[in-house]
Amino acid sequence: MIDTSNVNYEEVFRRYDIETEAKEKPEAVAAKILASVSDGKLKKVAEDVVFMNYKGVEEDVKAALEKTKPEDVIEKGLVKGMDVVSELYGRGIYYLPQVMVAAKAMELGIKTAESKMKGERELKGTVVMHVAEGDPHDIGKNIAAVLLRSNGYTVVDMGRDVPVDEVVKMVEEKKPQMVTGTALMTTTMSAFPTIAERLIEKGIEIPFVCAGGAVNRVFVESYPLGVYANKAVQGPVLASKAVEGWNYQKFRLKWDELVGAHGAK
């Protein structure tokens, strides 16, 4: 085998990820963001989310509920913890698995807190999600669903290989603020324009966020309602604007600053 010891690999490739690696530890980032949380029990709940303590979070939420309203345990503890996770993920200190396990801890905590609420918790909005008919690839949709739920949205997950008519029917029934479709292949994403057309026929003009392997912005903007997304992490940002009432035209106009070159990566 060739001797590679004389190769100056700096001339061949550069590990930009190592050169720009964040030096801060998760504990330091969490301490900064959670400094405003003075209640020790709420802080513990937030830390359970940040440090993925899904085994202990229910007990800690119960302890916090002794003095604090369930709504506040959720907002000032669990959601605050998830804010830290988002920061860590954005800076590359956490990767996807840490976000997923933190979201699981948060979900368990929310369930415990909700069990003590009198009415139902008010969520930010509803998103109907599906993978196109004929397409079994759903990991992107599943990641986006976790992120949307952990950001306070109701997710109606229709699964994969979902026919056009079923998507339209579900949107009519659930009246979401946003519908999403994902596809890996060029020939399955062709269902999206049909869905958009049927929704418009029924007078439903919510943004239809489309994403996936072969899906691109030019294609998605070739039919009405279509709004392109290229990463699961953009889901909550797009949903927040849909809830504000943005129509698809406004999304397209503001796309670059919202999720494009200057927006959420």
Partner: protein, 469 residues
């Protein structure tokens, strides 16, 4: 039905025997095609435009009159002595094989025969059957009452084999519900269960049937790929701006996947294996079968960190897939055939000059330390992972675990030696956790399966019945 014959020894005596354009067991097929026989064949893959599948005639026209013709014209224009086409079937073709698949398969063969007769160009076509089976509906026959996908996969293979395919392959999906969970949660033990064990069981169900169909129709049984699993892991690990999955995790998932993909050959497939199976160097080291690979000539579809490296042991060199559309230099398929065809000309020239091992080493050296996954696929390391697999060859769990552990150890040793691979913090932390996790597992398949069935029973859509459990 074809039986499973395990690999318990390496078909190559040393890693140095592994080189592009040459396999211990070359395969002859198609219209004068020979794979692994002293040259490298460009394998051009393509995808129809979004609305091409409106009806069977529009789809046939897209695949045959436009795509196949453009490829063949460009091959003749550039003087390529041989080309393989690959048609990765779209959902419409498996959902209604008689209407959508049959005319395409027959039409492609007809036009290829015309060019072969007129110019003498060596030609072949790989039909990669779609696998739309859904674990939530059922992976085995009579389980999916909504779509009958398991039955349709077999029917689709038969239609392809009977109507003009030279070779069948598939990107089978068994274990994906668990492997997706493993990727999302960074859980290597779940991956070992999902791909090393469940994926292997699904391969053992599927591949003997495909081999029988191929034998009956005198068609080559190509091979499989863990595209659905290990490529998901690899692409989420991505490049230096991506921070979703640690690249050490992706590397170990690839090694484990190789023990699963090997089952196609154990069931009687002969290769060439599938291009997107980056586990190909490990498979070739074990089996001596020719492999298709992809890398720098597949930038139309993938951006990976081993664009040169993946050529170093290939027998066919592929573009992965490109949507049919116009470029300045002609249609996309014509342009990308040019890219891979010229690379094949370089490799074949190196073989003619007796410099193939020099070029192999240059391909390998260029990307050796660029990513952990590329590192374990370098022929010396691929060979060692192969040895770990055949050392436990008769046990699908133990050999998968051994492959994962060997890959982890190789990366760890290099990272701790001067001039070795560099890892970022997440890659280091993840590797350390993988080693601890794999070491904690039992040395007995039954114990592992009992544990895994309990631990992972709540993974959404996971149903042991899909795997005969």
């Amino acid at each position: 039905m074809a039986s499973i014959k395990r690999f318990t020894r390496m078909e190559y005596k040393s890693a140095d025997e592994l080189v592009f354009g040459e396999a211990k067991y070359p395969v002859t097929y198609g219209l004068g095609q020979k794979a692994g026989a002293g040259h490298v064949i460009p394998e051009i893959n393509f995808a129809p435009r979004p609305d091409a599948a409106k009806n069977p005639e529009t789809l046939r026209r897209e695949y045959v009159d436009y795509i196949a013709k453009d490829i063949l014209d460009r091959a003749i224009t550039l003087g390529f002595p041989r080309v393989q086409l690959e048609n990765e079937h779209i959902w419409q073709m498996v959902n209604d094989p008689q209407k959508f698949e049959k005319p395409v398969v027959a039409g492609q063969k007809e036009i290829m025969e015309k060019y072969h007769d007129e110019y003498g160009i060596e030609l072949s076509i790989r039909h990669t059957i779609a696998d739309p089976r859904l674990c939530e509906k059922g992976l085995r026959p009579r389980m999916d009452k909504v779509h009958n996908y398991p039955e349709k996969v077999i029917e689709s293979a038969e239609v392809a084999a009977e109507n003009g395919a030279d070779m069948l392959s598939i990107e089978s999906m068994g274990g994906k519900e668990v492997s997706d969970y493993a990727i999302m949660n960074g859980d290597i033990k779940a991956w070992l269960f999902g791909i090393g064990y469940l994926g292997s069981l699904d391969m053992e169900w599927l591949w003997p049937q495909l081999v029988d169909i191929c034998k009956k129709n005198k068609v080559i049984a190509g091979g499989d790929t863990n595209c659905a699993g290990a490529n998901t892991s690899m692409f989420m690990a991505g490049g230096y701006l991506d921070k979703d999955v640690a690249r050490t995790f992706a590397a170990v998932t690839r090694a484990i996947a190789s023990a699963r993909t090997l089952i196609a050959y154990e069931a009687g497939a002969t290769g060439p294996g599938k291009d997107c199976g980056y586990e190909g160097p490990i498979l070739k080291a074990i089996s001596g079968r020719p492999e298709a690979q992809e890398g720098k000539g597949a930038q139309c579809a993938h951006a990976d960190l081993m664009g040169n490296l993946m050529a170093h042991t290939c027998d066919l060199w592929s573009n992965e897939s490109v949507e049919y559309h116009p470029e300045f230099g002609g249609s996309s398929v014509a342009c990308w055939l040019g890219v891979i065809g010229y690379e094949c000309a370089l490799m074949t020239t190196a073989k003619q000059l007796g410099k193939d091992k020099v070029l192999r080493d240059l391909y390998m050296a260029a990307d050796r330390f660029k990513s952990p996954e590329g590192f374990i696929l370098c022929y010396d390391n691929a060979y060692q992972i192969g040895e770990a697999i055949v050392g436990e060859g008769n046990d699908i769990y133990l050999r998968s675990k051994a492959a994962g552990m060997k890959a982890a150890e190789l990366i760890d040793a290099s990272a701790n030696s001067k001039g070795g691979i560099r890892l970022n913090k997440m890659e280091k932390d993840t590797l350390a956790k993988i080693i601890v996790d794999l070491e904690s597992l039992p040395d007995n398949q039954d114990k592992f399966v009992d544990w895994a069935l309990k631990t992972y029973k709540d993974i959404p859509m996971f149903n042991p019945r899909n795997y005969g459990l």
